[in-house]
Symmetry: C2
Subunit: 348 residues, 2 copies
């Protein structure tokens, strides 16, 4: 149980009713714009509402009607611009549909995710949009939200067996196609020794992105040296630290497909430190097309995902589910688009 704070005396329907000599029920009808009430009565009531500064108590209404007007949005990393834009898309679309967004940030911790879900669920959201933290397990999520709460999974799969009786919708990026495109682009530029840098194989997005890379390499008949797969946390700083491993083996790669923009930027940093110019001495690509990607030196070739649009899509997916709770689960694989900039020049 948690701390809560008292709120000041509020104006209720009873106050309005008393104030203009009608019943509570009539005022309620006015509020909801019912055609039943007489024109003059309505005018009188509306005047009184204004006069007393009435504000609707949606929680009480939701209790009585057994409805909900909120949706929980749980993100693994709000501070990441990709998710921030995603969140603003979600909020926008939910707002248009009359819902309010309950925010929860987990900071990539599965434990915090549990706590956050547990706390949000008590506020009775109509549904949940979840971008799982790394290592988050389907079993735990199910335990936290129960089998009946509509949910949209974004960006990553949950670990463990998927409970098939809870029909969860999914909005995933076309990770594999994305890195395949990037890899094919580097190959077309003339690169042959291409590494895959950053991310971790225990997240579904990491595995998928690696798979796309491997697929393109194989299709081109190019071998992959074991030391060309370097893992890192999906953050710039950790990537910069991990980068040296790329050059420890022989033969050294001339290019790298990176897990996302953050690690690509980290790799750029590390390249500079080694005296290599990204783009001309070493080619690389990112994933996400965050704002920084266009501004880096050189500008980063990457995969554009339009996170704000994704946010709207996730909201739409949830809203559709609310309209039709029994529909079978949908999975949307959002397309990604290769944006070629100057970080992926041919080898010299």
């Amino acid at each position: 149980m948690e701390s809560q704070t008292p709120v000041g005396r509020k104006i209720t329907l009873n106050d309005i009713a008393a104030g203009c000599g009608v019943s509570r029920a009539t005022v309620s009808l006015v509020l909801r714009g019912s055609p039943l009430v007489n024109k003059q009565t309505r005018a009188r009531v509306e005047e009184e509402l204004r006069r007393q500064g009435y504000v609707y108590n949606r929680a009480a209404a939701n209790l009585r009607r057994r409805t909900s007007s909120s949706v929980a949005l749980v993100l693994n990393e709000l501070a990441n611009p990709f998710f921030a834009e995603f969140a603003s898309g979600v909020d926008e679309a939910l707002g248009e549909a009359g819902f309010v967004t309950l925010l929860g940030n987990t900071g990539e911790s599965a434990a915090r995710e549990q706590a956050v879900l547990g706390s949000l669920i008590e506020h009775g959201p109509a549904g949940i949009i979840l971008a799982p933290a790394e290592g988050s397990e389907a079993h735990d999520v199910l335990a936290a939200v129960g089998p009946h709460t509509p949910m949209v999974l974004f960006n990553r799969e949950l670990g463990g067996a998927q409970p098939e009786f809870a029909h969860w919708d999914r909005l995933m990026l076309d990770n594999q196609r994305g890195t395949r495109l990037a890899t094919e682009h580097l190959i077309a530029q003339g690169h042959k020794r291409i590494a895959f840098f950053g991310g971790a194989d225990d997240a579904s997005s990491g595995r998928d992105r690696y798979a796309g890379y491997a697929q393109a390499m194989q299709a081109a008949g190019l071998a992959i040296a074991p030391h060309w797969r370097v893992e890192s946390k999906p953050s710039r700083m950790d990537a910069a630290r991990a980068a040296h491993a790329l050059f420890n083996g022989d033969p050294a790669p001339t290019a790298a497909v990176c897990y996302n923009d953050a690690v690509a930027l980290g790799l750029m940093l590390a390249l500079h430190q080694r005296g290599l110019r990204p783009g001309s001495d070493f080619a690389l690509t990112g994933f996400d097309d965050i704002a920084e990607a266009a501004m880096s030196t050189p500008p980063l070739t990457t995969l554009s995902t339009a996170p704000r649009t994704l946010g709207r899509q996730a909201a739409e997916l949830l809203l559709a589910r609310l309209r039709e709770p029994q529909a079978s689960a949908r999975t949307i694989i959002a397309p990604v688009e290769l944006v070629v900039r100057e970080s992926s020049r041919p080898p010299h």
Copy 2:
């Protein structure tokens, strides 16, 4: 009135009570960990809670207790990394205190701000943290939230007369000192013709930042040419478009203090297009220290504000107000720190 959606049958206290042969009141006591209940009873009830998968209905409890366990966070631009980090700080601190964050994004539109506030207030938040949209008026905000809702204003002042009976707390950046430091730094580097670029004078932060710049220039006995004040929207793209105005007059500046990092990065873009190398051919400083600032070419000298910490602070301010509703209004001016990087080299 807005659309809402039905929620499935939920387990209530009555179900639990019936399920283990005690009264509703006893179950409620167990839930709240009251020391009154007998050990064995408690165990029996807790077992039953687990068995039936009970989830607490906080809305119902809040209704009865006339409390609230949520706080509304209304931001002018969530997609901006500065505010995204701020939001994650707010959410973190609120979560620790047992509150849930209701999110609202206004996209710099005062009209949307009105709508968002109106919708959020119906959910009965214990308080509001508001980063006002450009041109947002105190009068309108007051009308939307009423005089009794605790509120923390962040980052900008509201327009119009401040209603003194509503004691609103404030968390503002030390804008003036920030740009003064930046300007003094450029002067110390040897610059004499320094412009002030970006932002608008009808937002309080814009005026304050300009004032800091003007103050430093005056203190150094440097004159300011009229065409050295160029306004723009606080976005990168608009800044890049507006930048040419800096070079239309004579004498041209050799450096610029920028309204924030976004416009500084936009200015960099424009400089490149003119064939000028930022840093060496033209010095500039930003404001905010967003992640991109350290990564730009050259890295941007800017003012660090630690937005996540600011978020925590805003939350603390609101929580303090909830504990002490009658305390007089507090204003915190958060310090900013000059981070010198390579975009502010001496003129040649």
